[in-house]
């Protein structure tokens, strides 16, 4: 392909990408416009203009954002590792599954706010509190989704691999893990959304750092500008994290049509 045709190809691809996203962009720009117009008629302590929000955004202490993101990623990684092990054990030992399923369901049924309260009462360290809350909220999703994914691997693929007589490790690495990657990535996307929402609530009441704490502080100042700015940071962080998972998905699942 010549350089010219290559650049044309990139331009066409970009234009197509923008065209596909136009409804998304139009919708969001519409909301922003309505907000801006409404801010002309309402006092800034109720609805600040975008200019005010962005000036607050520039003055935020972004270390709170990094702390929040790090907390979510660490807890989710731990929940994922534990969920993968639990789901594998539940699959290998059906009796263990029978005992573990009610516990997983119980953990899942407990509301996030109750986990926040329990962790405040049970633990002293703020990091441990946040970790426990996120871990407890996200673990059941990983266990249930991974177990379902393992069970849903087509019988004919299992039989084909077994006919080649793999070791247990080979069976897991050559069949189980690649087959469940799509479900793992989907669960990561869902749990990132859940994690970001829950960590904010946990930080709101249980810590002195993170976006949740910063939001609580802004509330104390009655600064709607700052609350809106932090909300933008929170939403952007979530979208960025989900974007990373999306890129990984695009790479790992390139075999899907």
């Amino acid at each position: 392909m010549s350089q010219k045709s290559s650049s044309e190809y990139v331009a066409v691809k970009l234009a197509k990408g923008v065209a596909e996203k136009r409804y998304y962009l139009i919708s969001l720009l519409g909301v922003a416009a309505v907000w801006e117009v409404a801010s002309w008629f309402l006092p800034p302590y109720i609805l600040p203009s975008w200019a005010l929000v962005f000036s607050s955004l520039m003055s935020l202490n972004m270390s709170h954002a990094w702390i929040t993101v790090a907390r979510v990623l660490i807890a989710l990684t731990a929940a994922f590792a534990c969920g993968l092990c639990l789901a594998t054990l539940m699959y290998i030992f059906p009796k263990f599954e029978k005992y573990a399923t009610p516990i997983v369901n119980l953990v899942m049924a407990v509301p996030a706010i109750c986990w926040v309260l329990f962790s405040i009462l049970w633990f002293r360290g703020q990091e441990l509190r946040i970790f426990i809350v996120l871990f407890a909220v996200c673990l059941p999703g990983y266990v249930i989704d991974i177990l379902d994914a393992i069970k849903n691997i087509p019988f004919n693929l299992r039989e084909m691999i077994l006919s080649l007589r793999p070791s247990k490790t080979q069976y897991i690495t050559k069949l189980i893990l690649p087959a469940i990657i799509p479900n793992i990535l989907t669960t990561w996307k869902v749990n990132l959304g859940l994690g970001i929402r829950v960590v904010t609530v946990a930080e709101l009441v249980g810590t002195l750092t993170g976006i949740g704490y910063a939001l609580n502080f802004a509330l104390g100042q009655q600064s709607i500008r700052e609350i809106t700015a932090w909300t933008i940071v929170l939403v952007s962080s979530l979208l960025a994290l989900q974007g990373i998972v999306y890129l990984i998905e695009k790479r790992l699942l390139r075999w899907r049509k």
Partner: protein, 255 residues
Amino acid sequence: MIVAETLSKTFSQQDGVGFKAIDNLSLTIFKGEKVGIVGSTGCGKSTFLRIVLGVEQPSSGKLLIDGKEPYRHYSEFKGRISAVFQEDRLLPWRTAIENVVIGLEIMGVEKKTAFEKAMEWLNRLGLEKFAKAYPSELSGGMRQRVAIARALILNPEIILLDEAFGHLDEVTSRKLRADFFNILSDSKAIVVMVTHNLDEALESVDRIVVFGKPAKVLGDFKTDEYQRPRLKKLIQHLIETNKPFNLVQSGLGKV
């Protein structure tokens, strides 16, 4: 040598009544033989293959390969038996060449050697240009060729074909079958081909075993000892009546 001694397989069902797939089957297949197994749908042909493959355990009786049970001596048969199924059963996340090498990977063959060997097989089957294509990018015939390469790359002692050409169109199926048996023409491997297509069996193998329902041997014929149309009629008659050959032998003239 494959020896089935009074082999039976019963599957338990939800209503508690067992479903008998194989009933006291006795059969011997010798080294280098190319055997076709025919019978009506659901007569237990595939179950027999799965027992030979070692992924199913018999309920009673024995299935021995060179004196050993493939189910019990699981890892001893690594790389010695391979199968081509009706569906290609390719791993969708692996490219054609990665699907071909999987058996060698499991056997611990060095990566470079395995990929070189896989490429040779893809060449032989006319797929060299599609080595890096994913199964979703290949046609049904191409996918089945990859599945055949995956089976043959192991140079197995036993090759099992479970309706391997059955879901392809007539032309593709005939071509692929011809290619397959050409490749194996000098091989000493046992080939067991399960099929519901009598013509396919008559064209490809040198011995046909007719299974009744549940699976038991109704007839066992060397294909070169009979006229093809006559043998075809006889086999059809055996399958329809579900009676062993010696019971219908007297009626051969009418068939």
